[in-house]
């Protein structure tokens, strides 16, 4: 059976070149980067080279990069470390309503320790208005965090404008760029951000290799106390293979980003053009213009996301959904609800996210197998029966 992987937002494949760069550090190059001897120095040099490659991807200095084990850890580090580092000045945080759970739950954790928070709404396309961020700022605000792009709906946020609002009020600004880094050009100085999270498994690197950029001079408290690794800001022996993989993936992303975008956008746009033509009552979610290049997301009315995912999987297609049934907590997507969609529509959430190497034939296959899947599920949906009855057909 043809196998078509369209779940970039869950994980990207590991590039062979990245794996090859990592391989020695899973084998003979096992030294601890903190050791003085030759084995240690070899690991240390490789880690520092990776730090430079990663810094170059976002226009930072190597000393401003802190490696973490995941995007979630980077986000926890940013929210908790920055907020706690500034708490003498105030204890109020502003985040958008569509942030990843690692941001929202970090904020909730801080609320238990006396911080307060304001959630900034989004419009129907999932976009945060910088003016709303400005309105949410108080004298007590010490940190704002708004994601660079949302993985569920693909919308890219006006980060530079939000950063400017924060800078004018002398408030730190963090952006969770996990979904965007490696896929869209990000330059921390031009954007004006104080901190930025990214993860290699979103740009063809290994899982376990992620990082937080923190602008030089910004105070951040460590989440993991320990030794002197990462400038004393993140204790624990470095995950050398993952860091090497992350660094190599960053180098390749910087080199290939434009080519990847050029290849994926036309394929992605075919989904936007053809799916609503082949299937009635399909909503595009998120912005059509300010959007991740590999990302197409929809709500298919009258059917539920998990049932579509299972059916697609039977046809060899891997995709994602934000439906309540696909989440362990059986909770509808907070992103789609924040965008104003009702529960029934949000249940039909589906995300196709392309990867480097996705072909025309892959998209053809999806467009061929998907409409009959929707048709089959709709024919057993009481909501669809109701819709047909109301329409009088």
């Amino acid at each position: 059976m043809k196998s078509v992987y369209l779940d970039h937002i869950a994980a990207t494949p590991l590039l062979t070149e990245v794996l090859e760069a990592m391989r020695p550090f899973l084998g003979e190059a096992y030294g601890n980067p903190q050791s003085l001897h030759a084995a240690g120095r070899r690991a240390q040099e490789a880690v520092e080279e990776a730090r430079e490659d990663l810094a170059a991807l976002v226009g930072a200095q190597a000393a401003e990069i802190y490696f973490t084990a995941s995007g979630t850890e980077a986000n926890n580090f940013a929210v908790k470390g920055l907020a706690l580092g500034q708490q003498a000045r105030g204890r109020h945080i502003v985040v958008s309503a569509i942030e990843h759970s690692s941001i929202l739950n970090s904020v909730k954790a801080l609320e238990k320790h006396g911080f307060t928070a304001t959630l900034v709404p989004v419009d129907g396309s999932g976009r945060v208005d910088p003016a709303d961020v400005e309105k949410a700022l108080t004298k007590e605000t010490v940190l704002v965090s708004v994601m660079t792009a949302n993985s569920e709906v693909g919308t890219i946020e006006p980060i530079a404008d939000i950063a400017a609002v924060c800078r004018a009020r002398n408030v730190l600004f963090h952006t969770d760029a996990v979904a965007a880094a490696g896929s869209v050009a990000l330059e921390v100085k031009a954007l004006g951000v104080d901190a930025l999270s990214l993860a290699g498994d979103q740009f063809y690197g290994p899982k376990g290799g992620a990082a937080l950029f923190v602008r030089k001079g910004v105070r951040i408290l460590p989440l993991i106390d320990g030794g002197i690794q990462e400038g004393g800001r993140r204790g624990g022996t470095e995950n050398v293979p993952a860091i090497i993989g992350l660094g190599r993936a960053a180098r390749l992303a910087a080199r290939d980003m434009e080519a990847r975008r050029a290849a994926l956008v036309p394929l992605r746009d075919r989904l936007f053009d053809d799916l609503p033509r082949l299937i009635e009552r399909v909503l595009v979610t998120g912005s059509r213009t300010d959007r991740l290049p590999h990302h197409a997301s929809f709500c298919i009315e009258f059917v539920e996301g998990e049932a579509m995912l299972l059916s697609l999987d039977m046809k060899g297609v891997a995709a994602s959904s934000g439906s309540a049934c696909t989440s362990k907590a059986l909770k509808a997507s907070h992103v789609l609800l924040a965008m104003g969609l009702d529960h029934a529509t949000a249940q039909g959430s589906l995300v196709f996210s392309l990867i480097d190497g996705t072909t025309r034939e892959d998209i053809d296959h999806l467009l061929e197998v998907f409409p009959p899947i929707v048709d089959r599920l709709r024919r057993m949906s009481p909501l669809y029966t109701e819709f047909l009855k109301e329409r009088g057909s």
Binding site: F302, V303, E304, G305, E306, A307, L310, S311, M314, S323, A324, C325, T326, K328, A329, L330, K331, A332, L337, D342, H343, A344, Q347, R379, M380, S381, P382, L383, Y384, T385
Partner: protein, 194 residues
């Protein structure tokens, strides 16, 4: 995550459809929870001569509906009333714990259809409960909505695994973390009825 039997009933559901001349119709669930089931029955000599269903929901919800229809067809009303959600899950080779809570409502929908038939036969006005009220959660088959650990009947107020305290939603009967503003199942403010 699903048994082969669940996948079979999901891929090839039995008895899907609408009975235009049904003797009884039963509906449970709501789109907020993710699953809605409508059951249609035909009754002859106190036996279910035909059963059809329509389901909006996940793979488990579709498989459950299909299994219920198969278990019920040809049975007497009394036999059909004895089918429980737990028996259905058992017949399907088990369901993931978190799906026991929201998706395993097929037997309830069937029973609603039978009650609807009995009400009509007795000349009573059919029960006009809103769908959300029928979303009963049986304590013994309840799982923590946050970590999936199964909950005992007595600790519907607290999950020992992830140490979350619960509050029961008066609108849908689901459980949400105490102190949260809104029910995670139906979105209604906690502490308020529908």
């Amino acid at each position: 995550m699903y048994s082969d039997k669940v996948m079979d009933h999901f891929a090839n559901p039995r008895n899907v459809g609408v009975l235009a001349d049904a003797d009884g119709v039963g509906q449970v669930g709501n789109p907020v929870c993710g699953d809605m089931m409508t059951f249609y029955i035909k009754v002859e000599n106190d036996r279910l001569s035909d059963v059809k269903f329509q389901t909006f929901g996940c793979g488990a919800a579709i498989a459950v509906s299909s299994m219920v229809s198969e278990m019920a067809k040809g049975r007497t009303l009394a036999e059909a009333m004895a089918i429980t959600n737990d028996l259905v899950a058992e017949e399907l080779g088990g369901l993931p714990k978190n799906k026991m809570h929201c998706s395993n409502l097929g037997a309830d929908a069937l029973h609603e259809a039978i009650k609807n038939f009995q009400d009509k036969r007795a000349g009573r006005a059919p029960d006009a409960k809103p769908a959300a009220d029928q979303h009963e959660h049986e304590g013994e088959s309840c799982a923590c909505p946050y970590c999936d650990a199964s909950l005992e009947k007595e600790d519907k107020t607290f999950c020992r695994a992830c140490r979350v305290e619960f509050e029961e939603c008066l609108a849908c009967g689901g459980i949400t973390k105490r102190g949260d503003e809104k029910c995670i199942h139906c979105g209604k403010p906690l502490g308020k009825a529908a």
